[in-house]
Structure formats: structure tokens, C-alpha cells
Amino acid sequence: MKYLSTSLFVLLALVLWSCGGSPAANQASSDERAAVSHPKGQASVSDDVSAKNILQVAAGSPDHTTLVTAVQAAEIEHVLVNAGPLTVFAPNNAAFDALPEGTVPDLLKPENKAKLAEILTRHAAPGSFDVEGLKKEARKGRKIYTATGDYLEVVVNDDDIRVAGAKVIGTIQTSNGIINVVDKVILP
């Protein structure tokens, strides 16, 4: 019986594999290969000519290592390299450090991936809002609509710009949108 089972398995395996040359089998293996060739969607595209995009800029910033780690853990890299346009309110490392102890390690756990993605995408808004753009939002009483559906209020006092309470401490133009560095993680 055992022998038969083994033979059966071997033969079935042969059925499955013997046609490696056929288009259908080739397609199956090619799908896997395609996935390997672009594992992170557009974030896998190599381009050293264009201006840097949001993800590339963030990845090059020593003040945003926690944010980049979180983006990778949430597997949302491709969102930050999308055509956008996108404005990202990018909490610096200090902002993450200011969260209650244990929060970040907890969020980085695989089982909290969805929750982490939700928190991060709350920091991303369609549109390009640089400093002038943010001031205009405040002046005109408009709110910034985020990718999670939240509305963030912009409050300006002279050079002090706050988005949902987080202070904007730097603005960087990137190829696919704007990074506003903020000193706080924006929570609901």
C-alpha cells in the first residue's frame, strides 16, 4: 500500500511536471517569476535618473528610520512611489519615540500589519500641499482629506504650522508629491 501510494505520488508528480515545456505550465512558473521580478510593485522599479520620490527621500533620511521600517512592515511601499500626487506628513523618529512605550514594537508585529497600515495611511493625503499650500488651506478654511478618510485641520500662527496638532518642521518637494516632516504621530 505504502509502495503504491508512493508510486502514485511519483506518477502524479510526473503528470504535473512532465509538461514543463507546455505553455500552461510555463505560464504558472512565469507568474511566480513575475512576482519575484517586481516584489514591491512600482517600488521595485530602478530609476536613478528621475528626481527622488517620497519613499526614496524618506529612506535616505536618518530622522525617519522608524517610519521607513514601519512602511516596510506594513508593506505599503508601493503607495509612496505611486504617481500620486501625494502629501505625506512624516513623523520623525522622535515622534515615534514619544508614543507610549511598547507601542512601536507592538505595531511592527505581523499580526498588527493592517492596524499599522491604517495608522500610516492616515499620514498620507492626495494632492500637493507644501508650506504655501498648507497656509492656503488654513486661510481658506479647507481641511486636508487623508487616504483613510479623515479630515485634518491646518492651524497657522505665523511660521508655526500644525496639521491635526502635529507641528510641521520641514517640507521637502519630491518627484511624486510633498513630504512635510512632523513632530507627532497623527492618531485618530
Binding site: L4, L8, L12, S22, P23, N26, A34, V49, P85, P126
Partner: protein, 654 residues
Amino acid sequence: MKNQSKFLFYLLSLAALLVTFSCGQGGDAGKGAIGGNAAQRVYVNPGEHDEFYAFISGGFSGQLSVYGLPSGRLFRVIPVFSQDPEKAYGYNEETKPLLNTSFGFVPWDDAHHPDLSQTNGEIDGRWVFINGNNTPRIARISLATFETEEIIELPNSAGNHSSSFVTENTEYVVAGTRFSVPVPQADLPISEYKGKFKGAISFIKVDQESGRMNLDFQIMMPGFNYDLAHPGRGKSHGWMFFTTYNTEEASTLLEVNASQNDKDFIAAINWKMAEELIAKGEFTTMPTEYAHNVYDEATHSATSTIKKEVRVIDPSKYPGLVYLLPTPKSPHGMDVDPTGEYIIGSGKLAASMTAHSFTKMQDAIANKKFDGDAYGIPILNYDDIVGGQVTQAGLGPLHTEFDGEGNAYTTFFISSEVVKWKLGTWEVLDRQPCYYSVGHLMIPGGNSQKPFGKYLVAMNKITKDRYLPTGPELTQSAQLYDISGDKMQLLLDFPTIGEPHYAAGAPADLIKKRQTKIYKLEENMHPYAVKNEKETRVERDGNVVRIYMSTIRSHFAPDNIEGIKVGDKVYFHVTNLEQDYDVPHGISMIGANTSELLIMPGQTETFVWEPKRVGVWPFYCTDFCSALHQEMQGYIRVSPKDSNVKLSWSLDGE
């Protein structure tokens, strides 16, 4: 347990049967002409690249198409001689001058023979050249931008067919006239063709740095029809070979009257000698008119200059410059093998193909063994120069390419097949049918010392039932053969644009690494460019209004303009401020009598709008650029001619 064993046994038997039969489709078990694994051999996995580029002429579309091999996927149609509203080519103000000629703006041509630039006899991936047949022109296309960068018109020519073939180091691109004409043009009875009409062969010098073309000189040949050409290479470098027909010099019913002579000629031109003659001042300067159009990447704009003279050499005055090689029956294809020894002319009405030997030709010349002359040009003796003949290979031989392994491949129009034969032994090795009536064929690098003998593309003239029918007009068809083995194997049919004539192919790696991804904004020298949104503005000078506009995801600046009047001539100068690969923006204006613009990152383009009606008229981005593309729009308020609405512009009300 027993039953279970029996069940397993049956399953086992079934599986064994499956093993035996399941591969009927997958094996090489002789499924007609096409081996069962053809699909696998042309299949390129998602996200992976083809091994070769194929540049296939667009024929009467006037364009050049870019395909991948082996997949047969179409990547781009490069507009060359015809307007292309998709890319605003020939519609925007920047590229209109490219289509200027001495006859004025000619927005169409018949594109025939692409040929790639070479260095040391090998294709180098810098440029591809192609000829416009009808209003004689040669274009140069950059393989960094895949844009037409230059078009030069050819004077004294008509039906620019034996063109645009490149010498071994891209010293020259040559172009021969198909129709002989009075030179200079004159009001003559057509019956006076014989002796009075001339055939101009043009040598266009190519600057090795910029690629810029310059019509260096013309050799004024007898009034034959010059059909095709290929350069000498290796030992025959420095010579250019042209097939001729109608050596009868008929001017009517050529299908009969140009088929009288038993042999026509291959004209062998020693262009190195011509170069020396030019250097020594041995030429006459003839007044003429032709356009030379150049696109400048810095200004993103083309200019057209009308040139007024050309240097001409009379071959009858310079022994050694040109020899005529008798070749049977109206030879069409003109091909030279990778070593440069064999000069192959395919008489389209001949039963056999002739390969002249360059060595024998040199001997005959050295020993002055001539068989008379034609208009002072020595004719060599056929028997002295013939290197070999491929006899009874098929009907209607046209064109030959090479695999670099000592084999040649010739297309036969009438018997509708491609035939593989051996250089030197002249024996036929294999034949495969083409569907139907094949014209040119292409092996990547086939016109060079180093062909890449893996694939062969046959370009067919007749399609009939090969694809889903589309009314009376059908797509043209190419066919891909694997030539890596002893026998050719048909792998794929794929549709092409226009009528493909010749094609040129190159390994993808040679071209991929040269690609321009974006234009640097700081290098943009367009006179109406803006470098940022602060520079955007609208200026009026009489009834001419210039909008200095920018695009960036996902808005135009400005997007609201007032104070435009009926009767104005409004120039939209639009700069794409993006510096990100593959993020063009488009723009179109309701009622504009032109195409959209499609502006690459860092580029400036212009269209003209002449508003005819009072109202508020929208414009919008035509290329899905971003998540907020559908929000990328604007309005222009058009007031009556005598209105005093002030000119103003804004974005977000500011």
C-alpha cells in the same frame, strides 16, 4: 484494504496513461509546420523584456514601428514622415518644421528601409535612419529618445527607394533615386527620357558626435531605376552597391518595356574615391533647393533651413569611380554577406540568384577586362565576376540576409517562401513557406559584419485569412522564424502597421542602456519655457496672446484665464515641470484646430488656439497622469472682440 489497493491501482494506471498522452500538445511530435513548443519560445514572462528590438518600417503610414522579439509585441510607433496627433508630432509648433520641404509642408511619406548606425561594421545602437520614398527624404531617429531628430530632403531625386543604407562606420547614409528625372528639372517631352534623364545617388555625411546629416555630394548616374543598396563591408568597405533596373531607359509601360534586357546592372560605387575627388575639388556645384530640418533637444524645437546648392560628380569623367556589374533580369534585392566578399543581386524575374565575388571584381578591374560601357561607365564581364549562383531555389527572389554562420536566407515573393542556402557551395539547405508573398526579411544585425542569427522576421505583402478579418483592408503580417537550428521553424505571426518593407534589429541590451528617461528642467532652453509656477503668466501683444503655462500633478498653472477675445491668436506654451520618469501630461482645448499636446517631463510644447466664439471654454489633461488627473482642467473666458475685460490669470483664485 484490498478494494483500496484496487482503486489505487486504477488511479495509477490512469496516471500512467496521462503521462503518456498528456503531452500531445506539448511535445515536438510534428504538429504540421509549427512545433508544439513554439508558444513557449515566443513567450516573454510578465515584467520581463524581449531579447531584441525590431524596427519595422511603417510603409505607407510614413512611420517606424518598434517591436520586441521574440514576442512580436508593439511598443511604440515613432512618427517620422507623417503627422501623429497622438504625440502632437507635426501638429505642435516645435515639430512642424521637421515636415517642411522645398515643396512646403508635406505631412506624409512612404517609409521603406530602416538601417541602424554602425561602428567597425557592427551595429552600435546610436541611431536608426529611414527613407521617405515619395518626397525624397532621409530621417535620423535617436535611439536614446526614440524621436525623429533630423530630416534631410534630397534634391534631383524622385522615389527615394535605394535608401537609407549606412556604411561600416556610419561615415555615410546613402540614398539612390528610383525614378530618373531631368536634372535640373526641366519642361521636357517625356519621350526624351533616354539619355536626358539622370539618376542621382546621394551621399549624406553623418557627424559622429551629434549624428547631424549633411548632403556631401551626389553622383549623377545614367537614367536607370535605382532599386536597393547595401554597403561593402570588411574587404569591400569603401564601396557601395546599388541594384538597377530599367537599363532599357523606358518611360512607359515599364512592366513590359523595362523587362527586355537579359541583364541589368549592379552599380558598384567607390565612395572612398568619391570622397577624395570632393577633397580635391573635382566636382561641380549645382544650384538646387532642399530642406534640412533639425530638432534641437535643448530648445525642444525644430528648425528648417532651405539649402541652395549641391556638389555633383559626373562618373563618366573619373575612371575607377563606378563599375557596372551585369546581373540577370531586373535585380531588386541588393545584399552583401558579412565578410564583404559576396554581392548578391536577386533578379526578381530571374530563375537563379547571382552572387558576384568582390575579389573577382577587383581582379577584373585590375586587368581592365571590360565589356563596353554605358554612358562612359565601364561594364564588367559577367563571367569574370560571378562568384556563384543559387539555381532554381524558388520563384521571384527578392532579399537576402545572413546568420553569421555562413548561411544566407532569401525571400521568394512568387513561391512565397524563405529559403536557406549556403554561401560558397550555393546549395539549398531548407525552405519554409511564408503566408503570403513575402517581401523583405530581417535578421537582427543582418546588414553588418556581425549578425545575430537566432531569429528571422519575414514581412509579407499579402495577409488574406491569417487573422480575424477587418473588412476589405487587413493588417499587414510579419512572421517570426527560429533559425538557430539546421531547419528554420515558424514560431509566430504578428500584425504590423502600414506595409512593412525592410526592418532592422538589434540586441535589446545595446539600446536599453542608452535611454533618456526625463529632460532636465534646468537644461530646457525653449524660449517660452517656465521653470516653476511663479514664472507662469499670460502676455498680450496686439491680438497675439502667449500663455506661459506649467503642468505638475495634478493642475495647470494658471488654470483660469480671462480677457481673451474672439479673433485672438492664443499660444499655449506648456512646460511639464515633472522630473519623474513616465509622467507626461497632455493638454487639449475645445475647438482648437489641431491635436493635443503630449509633453514629456521637463519639456515645453506649444499649440495655437484661435477662439471663434464668446463663452467660457475648458481645457484638460489628456494623459491619465495621476490619481487627480480628472481634476486637471481649466477654463478660458472668451469675450467679444471689442470687450474691455482685463487680461488676468489665476490658480486657486490667486
